[in-house]
């Protein structure tokens, strides 16, 4: 759930009791005020009546509430002295509503010309059930409109406020340290986002610098190894050529040369990996993969027949793609070489070219390999001492550079597929 909706949700839950409590307080406060106001009005009627009495003494004979809104009844002096003013609520039949409606009754006393009277005033009162009904309805309207306003505000305003954050997140999701991605931070006046922007920029700059440093280290180390390797290999070759060594010594020399050769290949592969990631292969051309695959297969014919493997190329349709030629060769070479080296003897390695797909399949161990680690560096699939363990890592790095999707699947055969997106 988004932070935005999260706050809205809590607000929605919190508003229910809040508005309910507020409704009770508001209702009783209002009712109190209404009673107060009605009672004042009734008292005022009494004063008005007293004012009118000297000129209209017939008022004292009014005893029909329906007629005059007041009812005067004579009482004894004794009762008069004990009587205290009182207010009460009662029901009265209202003609307009054709129903009993609540009324406020004010009972008081008055003395006029030594005569004692009890006076009853009435006034129509607020209908509480209607009031509550109205109140509840308006409160629901208030609640709904509050929620709508909050949600709209959240979605419009907060979305705008959070834009720097979302822009940052989008970029971070696509961020790859090996690619020279620059993170563009949006200008913002919000303190927290400013902090986030500067922290992330600093973190990325640091990591990138550290990454480049490491890559340079690998590259420099590999470079520095080339010359001593060259000197050792050449010295051994010269030694092997000029002396008439016994067979055993020649074989020892050859074995040393062989191992130095392995070291050289490992070194070259490491260099190649860092060069691919450093984007050093800039020249691109349209590669005819049907032709190129045939050429690579031709190079591997001897290796395949040495293992009694048959290389079978099936070109279903034409496939061209723009990329660096050297890298295209290395990509195909590594996949085909991998299939031959790990393929079963006396079996077939099949290469099929579709419009957007090249698949290389070979028979091998009868179980799927771990597709999560198969493209990792130094993940050796066999105990073959000559394998550098970098071939598939290099193939992966090349395909990633060009947005080609390289995957592995096992269905009786081990299948490596290159999916080209043009």
């Amino acid at each position: 759930m988004k932070l935005l909706n999260h706050t809205s949700k809590y607000l929605a839950i919190l508003l229910v009791p809040l508005i309910t409590i507020w409704a009770f307080i508001f209702y009783y406060a209002m009712l109190d005020e209404i009673y107060d106001s009605l009672d004042d009005g009734l008292e005022n009627q009494k004063i008005l009546l007293l004012g009118k009495l000297p000129t209209n003494p017939e008022i004292l004979e009014h005893n029909d509430l329906d007629l005059w809104n007041h009812d005067i009844t004579p009482i004894s002096k004794n009762y008069y002295e004990r009587f205290e003013d009182r207010y009460s609520d009662t029901l009265m039949y209202m003609l307009n509503e054709k129903d009993f409606e609540p009324v406020r009754v004010y009972e008081t006393k008055l003395a006029y010309n030594d005569q004692y009277y009890k006076v009853k005033f009435i006034t129509s009162m607020v209908e509480e059930d209607d009031l509550i009904q109205d109140l509840v309805m308006y409160l629901i309207i208030l609640y709904v409109s509050l929620m709508i306003t909050i949600v709209i505000l959240n979605n419009l305003m907060l979305k705008k406020i959070w834009r720097p954050f979302h822009s940052l997140m989008r970029q971070l999701r696509d961020f790859r340290i090996e690619k020279n991605h620059q993170i563009q931070t949006m200008d913002t006046t919000i303190e927290e986002f400013k902090l986030l922007n500067t922290s992330i920029t600093a973190l990325i700059d640091q990591s990138r610098a550290r990454y480049l440093e490491q890559q340079h280290f690998i590259e420099n180390a590999a470079h520095e190894l080339q010359t001593p390797l060259a000197i050792s290999i050449n010295k051994l070759e010269l030694f092997l050529e000029k002396t008439n060594l016994p067979e055993a010594d020649v074989k020892t020399m050859a074995s040393i040369l062989d191992n130095l050769g392995r070291l050289t290949r490992l070194n070259k592969s490491l260099l190649l990996l860092s060069k691919i990631e450093n984007r050093q292969f800039v020249d691109e051309e349209i590669i005819d993969f049907n032709k190129l695959t045939a050429e690579v297969i031709d190079d591997f014919d001897d290796l395949a027949s040495h293992k009694n493997n048959v290389l079978y190329l099936k070109s279903v349709s034409k496939l061209t793609f723009q990329m660096n030629r050297d890298l295209a060769v290395i990509l195909l070479t590594n996949l085909i070489k991998n299939a031959i080296v790990h393929g079963q003897q006396n079996n077939t390695v099949t290469i099929i070219i579709h419009e957007n797909l090249i698949s290389v399949s070979n028979f091998g161990v009868a179980e799927a390999l771990d597709s999560d680690t198969i493209f990792s560096r130094f993940k050796k699939l066999s105990h073959d001492k000559r394998s550098t363990g970098l071939g598939l890592a290099i193939a992966k790095a090349i395909s990633e550079k060009y947005g080609i999707h390289l995957d592995y699947a096992y269905t009786e055969q081990h299948v490596f597929s290159l999916h080209f997106h043009k």
Partner: protein, 223 residues
């Protein structure tokens, strides 16, 4: 034939000089930019082997210098960097070839020989060895005037062995030259044997033969 090797690593220089001297070239050496500049200004060479990372200057500058002076030496850049930029820039500046370190001595010699052949129009000349004659331009091979048909790999193997006829050519040097750098990682270089076998069959009537040396490599022998 006079060669100049410009290389700052003394042992590397010694190896290269030694192997080329054995092929009866006159070899001169320079180990820094200054002395190299002096030598190319004063003398003419048939081929220059140039290490581009020198302690006191960039070897590519020497290439420009040679071009300015209108010199026409064959140039092979030798570099530990194997950088694509250097390779392209070097070739654009008129270098003939680019050889990344480390390399096999047989490969070095083959490259030098190829450059010299191109430079001196030796490409048009037949190469004779025993009763075998080769026309490099058209890649034609004849034994006693009878043409034999070799595939690309067989031809490349034969040429490489002929070029390095005085030395033992290891299987890895041969595989890398003929099958390319990418063939490495293969579980062994024994796969080259089938091509050798075919080539031997085709050279049945020749007075040269390809001899295996203790399973380590091959050597061309005259019968």
């Amino acid at each position: 034939m006079k060669l100049l090797i410009i290389e700052d690593e003394p042992e590397m220089l010694e190896n290269m000089a030694q192997t080329l001297e054995r092929e009866h070239y006159i070899v001169e050496t320079a180990s820094d930019y200054k002395s190299a500049l002096h030598k190319i200004a004063v003398y003419d060479y048939d081929c220059i082997l140039l290490d581009i990372s020198l302690p006191d200057g960039n070897g590519l500058e020497l290439l420009k210098e040679l071009k300015l002076r209108g010199k026409n030496e064959g140039i092979i850049i030798v570099s530990a960097k194997d950088s694509l930029d250097d390779r392209l820039e070097g070739l654009n500046l008129g270098a003939d070839d680019y050889l990344p370190k480390p390399f096999h001595m047989a490969e070095l010699h083959a490259r030098v020989k190829a450059v010299l052949r191109r430079r001196h129009f030796e490409g048009n000349q037949h190469i004779h060895i025993g009763n075998v004659s080769i026309q490099p331009e058209s890649r034609q091979v004849t034994i006693d005037d009878n043409e034999i048909v070799l595939n690309r790999k067989e031809y490349d193997i034969l040429m490489y062995l002929i070029t390095n006829k005085t030395r033992l050519v290891t299987k890895s040097a041969l595989a890398e030259h003929v099958w390319g750098d990418h063939i490495d990682q293969s579980d062994s270089f024994d796969f080259i044997y089938s091509q050798i076998k075919n080539l031997r069959k085709k050279l049945e009537h020749a007075t040269i033969s390809i001899e295996a040396v203790y399973g380590v490599g091959y050597k061309l022998e005259s019968i």
